[in-house]
């Protein structure tokens, strides 16, 4: 089985290629074809699940840029999502519901918010930064709540489906294609960001800040840049969230949402784009999996009542299990399996290769 060698590149193009072996090209092509024909194969319900995963993946990839690459802890992710969603809501309230305006607008608001948080964050580390972002989450939510009370109906703001000229984005299949495409673009963006100068600077800062500074990395600039990228993408995810749900309400952006996104990147594997996508899929599908398991087990009536706490508890338990026993996440498991097969009957690679 031909896996990327890593040692034998003879051209710069070969070194830059994202997909470098035939096996990977074939797998990727198969995946793309599968995603394209999925609407013909799968039920609308399954399609909707994939759409949700794609949407969650955008948010998780964005958080991974900040926490996974740059090592800056954030408990305020839900606040950034809310900022994007409410930017859309404000534009809709002002009769400007076009996504051509809302998505860049959300990105701009997110980026601005990233600067606002990023600059004070230069002074703070670890727990203090986590607390600061948590406080920011509450402040953003308060501002959004004020907006909702003054302009929207008390319970929230309805968002019309996005419209480009005469074309309206509506229906499960259309949403599936749209959000999967967005997720794919963000995934490629995230992978490339990690390989770029900024990404390498972020990882250096994450691993040891003083060492990063001593090799000439402008720590302040790159930290703020990480916040800006992450929060701009997160706000776009928020705007997409608003359009897809067709409704925006403060209640949807509680502290628990931030925890869910953190769980995604932890369970998936911190610092890996693939991990963020896997984690998003895992966390999004977990409650449905429990539903299916309960339905399959034919638990006697009245069990529906216990379903919510069971799902909630299972989520907490899995997150704890990954934190304690598998800090590398799903990606770590995947890498171990892959290495086991590619190295058999040996146990270790000759040299450590970054993958």
């Amino acid at each position: 089985m031909a896996l990327g060698g890593g040692y034998f590149k003879t051209t710069y193009d070969g070194d830059l290629a994202l997909v470098d072996t035939r096996l990977r090209r074939v797998t990727l092509a198969a995946l793309v074809v599968l995603l394209l024909v999925l609407p013909r194969l799968a039920s609308p319900f399954a399609l909707d699940l994939v759409t949700q995963v794609a949407l969650a993946a955008v948010g998780a990839l964005a958080l991974n840029i900040l926490t996974g690459f740059a090592g800056q802890v954030s408990l305020g992710h839900a606040g950034f999502i809310a900022a994007g969603a409410f930017t859309t809501a404000v534009l809709v309230e002002h009769r400007l519901p076009s996504p051509l305006l809302a998505l860049p607008g959300a990105a701009l608001v997110g980026a601005a918010l990233g600067v606002v948080v990023g600059i004070p964050a230069l002074r703070l580390k670890g727990l203090y930064l986590a607390l600061g972002t948590l406080a920011l989450h509450h402040v953003v939510l308060y501002v959004c709540g004020e907006f909702q009370n003054h302009w929207g109906a008390n319970t929230g703001v309805s968002i019309p489906p996005p419209r480009l000229g005469a074309w309206v984005l509506k229906g499960t299949t259309a949403w599936y294609y749209a959000l999967t495409a967005v997720a794919a673009i963000v995934l490629i963006l995230s992978v490339n960001l990690q390989r770029s100068r900024a990404g390498r600077a972020w990882m250096a800062i994450r691993d040891r800040e003083i060492a990063a500074e001593s090799v000439g990395i402008d720590v302040a600039r790159y930290k703020v840049l990480a916040f800006v990228w992450s929060s701009a993408l997160t706000a776009v995810a928020g705007a997409l969230f608003a359009y897809q749900r067709a409704f925006v309400s403060v209640e949807a952006f509680g502290f628990f949402l931030a925890i869910e996104y953190i769980a995604m990147i932890i369970i998936g594997g911190l610092g890996s784009s693939l991990g963020a996508v896997l984690g998003a899929a895992f966390v999004t599908l977990l409650p449905y999996g429990i539903d299916a398991a309960v339905a399959g087990l034919r638990v006697p009536g009245g069990a529906e009542y216990y379903l919510f706490p069971v799902k909630f508890g299972a989520f907490g338990l899995l997150m704890a299990v990954f934190l304690v026993f598998e800090p590398q996440g799903l990606v770590g498991i995947w890498r171990r399996i892959r290495n086991w097969f590619s190295l058999w009957p040996l146990r270790y690679r000759p040299l450590r290769r970054a993958s």
Binding site: L122, R123, L124, L127, G132, L134, A135, V139, Y142, L323
Partner: protein, 291 residues
């Protein structure tokens, strides 16, 4: 005016009880226990458990709830936090987040999410009292203030005077050195968690008796962070001024501003403090490097 003052002191006492839990755990293990609010809820439900199994015996129920909560804190440290030694601190903090989720799920599983009132079951009442000066507070408001004052006096005495308390401070300052002097710091860390469980249970029982008991009380714990941080995360003495400041800002902003501000004002205090003096009013200045 006196009413504002009285309300501030009452709110501050509740926050101080909660923040004491944060500070105790943080001093020992440098972990911020994001589940402190849910440990408070747990204490409230332990009281409810006692009240339903032995109705009309308040002393017994309270004692049982205190013992169970302290025990829960001990077990939590042993089972969840001990394995996190050597992992990044933030991973340990996330483990406390999952602990909060698990506690809340367990509570909903056993007791559903209905609002409960343990006080009538205990055979007690909560009549309003008029204070000199015209302010009106409930009996349990007064009790909250009294319990908070007592707890802090007891904690100070314990940490300053008793050998165990002095060992606890030593272990919190430098676990390695303490271990070399023969101090069992694992036991002391577990004890800190037990004390945090105890303080949380006091807050939970008082709040459940005074206002209500439901599984989402833990949200109150998030607001109490602000208190711990304003006072200084590692300063028990800082909790009292921190609680008074945060409570005053909250009570005043609700009275003269917008009721919605109640949820956000503690966090505004927190942000202001982070910008000016991240280590808090009385905390020790840690390695908060700047770029």
């Amino acid at each position: 005016m006196t009413q504002v003052l009285a309300t501030t002191v009452v709110v501050a006492s509740l926050y101080a009880l909660l923040a004491a839990g944060y500070v105790l755990v943080y001093r020992a293990t440098r972990v911020l226990n994001l589940a402190q609010g849910d440990m408070m809820t747990l204490g409230g439900y332990f009281l409810f458990l006692g009240a339903t199994s032995v109705p009309g015996a308040p002393a017994l129920s309270v004692a049982a709830a205190i013992v169970l909560s302290a025990l829960a804190g001990f077990v939590i440290y042993r089972v969840l936090l001990r394995p996190m030694a050597g992992h990044p601190i933030f991973a340990a903090v996330l483990v406390t987040v999952t602990l909060g989720i698990l506690l809340r799920a367990a509570i909903v599983l056993v007791y559903t999410d209905r609002i409960r009132h343990p006080l009538p079951l205990l055979g007690l009442a909560n009549p309003p009292r008029r204070l000199p000066g015209g302010a009106v507070v409930s009996t349990f408001d007064l009790l909250t203030v009294g319990v908070a004052a007592l707890l802090f006096v007891a904690l100070f005495a314990f940490l300053r005077l008793s050998p165990l308390g002095i060992q606890m401070r030593a272990a919190g300052e430098k676990a390695l050195l303490a271990a070399q002097r023969g101090i069992n710091f694992q036991l002391l860390f577990a004890l800190s968690w037990a004390l945090a469980g105890f303080a949380g249970a006091l807050a939970g029982m008082l709040y459940a008796s005074n206002v209500r008991l439901d599984p989402s009380l833990g949200v109150l714990g998030l607001k109490a962070f602000a208190v711990a941080l304003v006072g200084g995360l590692d300063s028990l003495g800082g909790v009292i001024p921190g609680a008074l400041i945060v409570a005053a800002v909250e009570v005043l902003s609700v009275r003269y501003g917008d009721p919605l501000l109640a949820d956000v004002s503690p966090f505004l205090c927190l942000l202001a403090m982070l910008l000016v003096r991240p280590w808090g009013l009385f905390g020790t200045k840690e390695e908060l490097e700047r770029v």
